[in-house]
Subunit: 333 residues, 2 copies
């Protein structure tokens, strides 16, 4: 039995909370969210489940005091800079951490100073911190690294994730710009808020797994433009408006493109799939037709990773350094 505290009770956090109810050996003991609308409400009721007897707290100390929590599950920010103080507070409180923060999935190249500080505070407290999720954290980085294990040589890795965003949570649909005009899209893109976060981190994680020293990493982002009315999302998208994003992450050695990550998420997209192509010895392509629903899978891997995190050494770890999380309704170690 492991006791966890949920930090962040947005749509993803609520999904994680619901999932814990199906897990024999994970027991929720507290929840934190800064939103005054949520403060004091019962966590179960807030998540659309039965009463759980756990009030959502606005700050950490009161929510964990005397409850013997082992692990904090953190689904708050995508930004490493914003999440750092939370992680430091949790580590100080001797809590192991599993977080869906995209920039935490592989921060060693992009933000090494913050990564080193998080690593240090975790080591000092003897706890482990992992950033995970379905993407970044699995489909476009960890899984290609796993697949590479059977290769004698690799020239290039290409990963494609195409998904119909109709089935994703509303904040996700908003995040990819569904329903924006070209002008709105371009403005939101400029602000940096309009994108799937993590492609650069995923490129770096693959490069690390393969011991490739990249000379540069590039990211591009463009709108997917609706060719006709799309009504399958949380709101109607008119012809000419953006239905989502198309992004590329690319890693180069010299002028050679060694890693290509292609991410396309749009409301009404027809052929969702996840594909890994390895050009090497052997060359092969692995495909999941229909693709993986990111909301379900991110909530799942976050809880699945707890057992592996508890077995890992202390410090800031990535998916490359922990044992296979694997699904486990209960812990068997």
């Amino acid at each position: 039995m492991k006791k966890i505290v949920q930090i962040g009770v947005g749509p993803l956090g609520q999904k994680i909370v619901k999932n814990t109810l199906q897990r024999e050996e994970i027991h929720l003991v507290g929840a934190v969210d800064p939103d005054p609308e949520k403060a004091g409400k019962d966590l179960g009721e807030l998540c659309g489940c039965t009463h759980m007897g756990i009030p959502v707290s606005r700050e950490l100390t009161s929510s964990i005091k005397g409850r013997g929590a082992d692990v904090a599950v953190v689904s708050t920010f995508s930004s490493l800079e914003r999440i750092e103080p939370q992680l430091a507070e949790l580590a100080d409180a001797k809590l192991n951490i599993v977080s869906t923060c995209e920039e935490l999935s592989y921060p060693w190249q992009t933000q090494p100073d913050i990564a080193q500080r998080i690593d240090k505070v975790c080591r000092d407290s003897g706890v482990t911190c992992l950033g995970t999720g379905v993407n970044p954290g699995f489909l476009m980085d960890y899984l290609p690294a796993v697949m590479s294990s059977i290769c004698q040589d690799i020239e290039q890795i290409k990963v494609t994730r195409v998904q119909d965003a109709s089935i994703r949570r509303i904040p996700f649909q908003r995040k990819i710009g569904a329903g924006l005009t070209a002008k709105q899209f371009s403005q939101r893109k400029k602000n940096g808020h309009l994108r799937h976060i993590g492609l650069t981190e995923s490129v770096h994680m693959i490069a690390r797994a393969l011991c490739w020293r990249l000379d540069r990493v590039e990211e591009t982002l463009d709108p997917v433009v609706a060719a006709r009315l799309v009504s399958s999302g949380y709101k109607d998208i008119r012809q000419g408006q953006a239905s989502g994003v198309e992004q590329y992450g690319r890693g180069y050695v010299g002028e050679e493109e060694k890693i290509t990550l292609h991410f396309r998420a749009a409301v009404g997209e027809e052929k969702s799939h996840d594909k890994i192509e390895i050009v090497g010895t052997p060359s092969f392509t692995s495909v999941i037709e229909g693709g993986i629903n990111g909301d379900i899978a991110t909530a799942a891997i976050t809880l699945n990773a707890i057992s592996a995190v508890l077995r890992a050494e202390s410090g800031l770890k990535t998916m490359l350094e922990i044992p296979v999380p694997s699904f486990s309704g209960r812990f068997c170690v």
Copy 2:
């Protein structure tokens, strides 16, 4: 730079030796094979490469003396019982071990006494021992376990490996009974020599990853019968003769079949593929059309695993307990 000694210089061992020549940071320092035909010959020439200045030795001591080897790569026996004395000798000599021995991939349920003895001798010597390969060791056990990481619930796992054995090494084609009459096949089956080894081990590895307590594990084996003359293998197979094997490994909880592994390897098989189906939340199917060539991939993963083995704790480990091997032409840790 890691120094390795190759134990067993059959077709698979020779492939591993050739592969080391393409790896910057793996350096062969010795080779052992009990075959008097090979003793004293130069390892490079025996493997069809250039002269390496390494004579194949019939026994371990002289081949490693004063050469500072870190790791032994062992491709000798499929049987745990037969390989145990070799592993003990290597561990005593303070060598870490990566082996393609099928029964070593997950011996904890099938042969726990031997597994415990190997674990103890490795711990006592402070070395790590891993059984790996493409199957068992990757496609039908480790990879499904990895895939399960994104699931909130799993009801059933089915893995299918169908392959055209024409492209495999001759001992593999012989091992699956290609070219035998029905009577010869049934006799060889009775002797226990005619089969892909490892399905039971793979079932147990998946069960362990998912914390499922199985009530029973079953294996079946039948011939694939050639419907017409097949000439793509190492020898012609006439109509009515066996062209290969069809095997199932099944794991049950109560009467419920939770794990189904379907292995079919035959000369002339038309649609090679590797498929993982997970029935759960989410349900999905991952397919590699064309499948993975087992000889290439087994030699590759064996060398790729060295770096992860050197980072692991001492003792007998399985793929579930080490970090992702991943392809790496050089070590970056």
